[in-house]
Each structure stands twice: as C-alpha cells, then as structure tokens.
C-alpha cells in the first residue's frame, strides 16, 4: 500500500453540505500519479441509491468505487461510503461496513471512519475535514492527531457550510488550515510518485 516517497499510507476525507463540489475540486487537482488510497465519507440521504461513485468516476485518475464489505484497501483507489452504512477500516487493512446507529445523526459518519482508520494506520494517515453543517469529523480528526497522523481542514472562508470545519478547528488538533484551492496540491506534494 505504500507510496514510495512518503510514510503516509492513506487519506480519509469527510464532507457534508457543499461536499460534492469541494471533493470534486480536490480530486480534480490530484496528479495522475497520485497513488495513496483515499476513503471518503460524504453525508448523503440514506434513501438514495448511491450515485457518488458514478459522479466522481471521470473526475480523477484514481479508480473510484463504492466500498464493498471486507475488500482490501489498495493504492490508487478512491473508496466511497455507501448510503446508510458506516465505513470502517478493519484491523487487517480491509474496509468494513456496519449499520450501527447513526453517529452525529449521520450514517455514514465521518468520526466512525476517522477513528477506525486512526486505529489501523496510526501516524501514517492523513485526515481532511471539508465543508459541512454539523460537527461530525471533529472527534475523529482529534484521534488522528493523537495517533500522530496529519490533520487538514478547509478554511472557513472557502467552505460553503462552516460548522464542520469550525468544529474541527476548535479541537486544536489541526496541522493545516487550507483554502479549498490548494488542498489537492498539498496532497500532490506528499505523494512523491
């Protein structure tokens, strides 16, 4: 799973209101050789049939897919949490899904992904909180930081909905507060392939 040039092994992203455009912006900036696996929780209505994978498919060089239960996390892949399921990282480096109760009124929940990813990847993880209107992701980002990982939040000024980045920043566990325009390039510099 390792990118040759960095000690980071995965990126987790959490986004809510306004997230579709924000995630798209980040993805579109990634260079073709970007190979760290990305796992995304985008809050979405539990009753929709998921269209996110189709939506992002032609917008980045990574292979985009809705995460399947117990599939191994591979480099070059972009995994999206299915509607109405939590997405977790299992102890063997596979993804796992659950229908446990919503966390922060959300299923999938960003905290659930971030916390389980921090358990598995430790300091080799990058966590990014983007635009959103609740506080999901703040605790997860804090845990990533506690495990020595790298934490990034979108600036409040460039966020369509501000509560989520604001809550993340308030934890005091954020390494970089970046405007939406530069997050993709920031990631490009980390993955040296």
């Amino acid at each position: 799973m390792n990118c040759n040039g960095t000690h980071y092994r995965a990126v987790v992203i959490g986004a809510s209101a306004g997230g579709l455009a924000a995630v798209e912006k980040v993805l579109s900036q990634l260079k073709a050789s970007f190979c760290l696996p990305i796992l995304l929780v985008q809050h979405i209505s539990p009753h929709t049939q998921s269209y996110l994978a189709t939506h992002f498919e032609d917008k980045c060089a990574l292979t985009v897919k809705e995460a399947d239960d117990k599939e191994p996390i591979k480099r070059g892949y972009f995994y999206i949490a299915p509607p109405n399921y939590h997405l977790l990282v299992e102890y063997d480096g596979c993804v796992a899904l659950s229908i446990d109760p919503p966390v922060n009124f959300s299923r999938p929940s960003i905290d659930v992904l971030f916390e389980s990813a921090a358990d598995y990847f430790g300091k080799e993880l990058i966590g990014i909180v983007l635009t959103g209107a609740n506080s999901d992701g703040a605790l997860g980002l804090k845990k990533i930081k506690e495990h020595g990982g790298l934490t990034v939040v979108q600036t409040i000024e460039t966020s369509e909905a501000q509560a989520m980045p604001a809550a993340a920043i308030q934890t005091g566990c954020v390494d970089h507060i970046l405007s939406l325009e530069v997050i993709g390039d920031f990631l490009n510099e980390i993955c040296e392939c």
Binding site: Q49, D68, D69, K70, P82, Y85, L88, V89, E90, Y91, G93, A96, L97, S98, I99, D100, P101, V112, E115, S116, D119, Y120, G122, K123, E124, H147, G148
Partner: protein
Amino acid sequence: MFEENKTANEYLEIQLLLEAIYRKYGYDFREYSVAHTRRRLEYRRAREGMTNYSSMQHKVIHEPAFFEQLLLDLSINVTEMFRDPWFYQKVRELVFPHLQTYPFVKVWHAGCSAGQEVYSMAIMLEEALMRERTQLYATDFNEAILEKAKNGIYPMDVVRQYTTNYQAANGATSLSDYYTADYDSVIIKSQLKEKILFSPHNLATDGVFGEMHLIFCRNVLIYFNRELQNRVFNLFYESLVPGGFLCLGSKESLRFSDVASKFELVSEREKIYRKKREG
C-alpha cells in the same frame, strides 16, 4: 503492521477479552469484525470509566451482570420494518411466484434481532394469501433480544418510518392494520405472531437449520470476518432446498465465498441468490 505498541497491545487486550467471554459464557465473538467490535466495547469502557480492556476483562469474568450488559452492546443490531422498501418489492415480484408453487413453505430469518424483518415478511405473506401454508422461523443468539422480537412492541416514533417504508414497498393496505397502538408504542397483532417460531440459534457456533425455501440474513454478516462469513454461507447452503432463495444485505455478497458457484444471483442490487439444483 502495528508500528505503535499501544495499538498492538490494545488489540491483544481485546482478543483476550473476547476469549474470556467465550471461555466463561460460551458466546463467541472471536471472529467478529474487530473494527466494529472495538467501537462497541469502547463505548461501554468509556461509560464505565475504565482505562483499558484488561480491567474490562476482569469485570466481565467476575460480574455476570456486567457480561449481560456487554452481550447487549455486542449484539443489538439496528433495523426497521421494510428496511430498503425496494428490496421487499423485489422479493414479492421475484421470489413469491416460486414460493406459491410449494404446498408448504419454510422461511428462516437468521439473526432476527428485535423482529422487525420477520414481521415485515409475515405481513407480505398475509397479503399474498400465503399465511396458512407458511412457517416462519426467527432466530437470534441473544435471548433477551429474541424476547423483544416475540413481544413485537415498538416505539411510536420509529413506527412512522416503518409506515413510510411499508407504503414505499407497495403494501396492500395500511401498516396500522397489523398493530394495536398505545400512547407511545405499538404492539404487533397476535395473528402475525402465530406463524412465527422464535428460537435461539447462534450462527457462529450452531449447525444446520431445517430445510428452508427462503433464508433472510441481511446486514448480519458484515459484522463477521471473512472466515466466519464463509462458514455461515456454507451453513445456509446446507439449510436450503434446491432452488431455495437466500437474501443478503445490499452490501453483502457471496462473491468471495466457496459456495459462490453453487448459487445464481437472481437480483444484483437486492442481493437475492438462488441455490442451484444439482447436476
């Protein structure tokens, strides 16, 4: 894999805790998905104010009441009546015509939790005029939850969601025809319960169950690791008549199991499989 000793140690402590539960009480969570088990344990640990899983292990060994609490934490699954209404529509459309060719039909809800799904099915069979010649079996390893399922009492606020689901699944009448309402809860009518046999069965440790025409096991197997999933799929294969149907959760799949080639996928999105006839 575990560069930080803290994580590795914690993982070891969880394994030992689950081992203690198995050896002392016989419930086997050792092959459950760890990420998910850990979340539930952590919730209880934080509430009890314990700093690590070793102290939790001590408490679970010496205090059966604490074990009962932990058992609930580890086994409650959240579901709704007519969860994924489109799934139920598909069952009615694709599976019922086959069931109607049998003089008597046996249906197994494996991991029935608090009973929402088996009552959904009982309603559908009622509406298809098949109640008289159907036997439903609802099993769960947790007897406290099984008791809840038997009682069939649900809080009013979730019933609103159930009603929406029922309508979206093209129910024939009104969901309220099937329950009696109290101030803040509803109780499922006894005519629906008559055809259901509630019984303890543990998918992780128990064996084949009857000769079923249809098995429901939705969003249970995602909580298991690959090896246990595979064993349970074999158990289902053995428990089905040739041509019998198996319904999984929409994100579960037979694809990686060793019985994959012995089933045909009848409906992709709904994850409805059919056991092939031999030869």
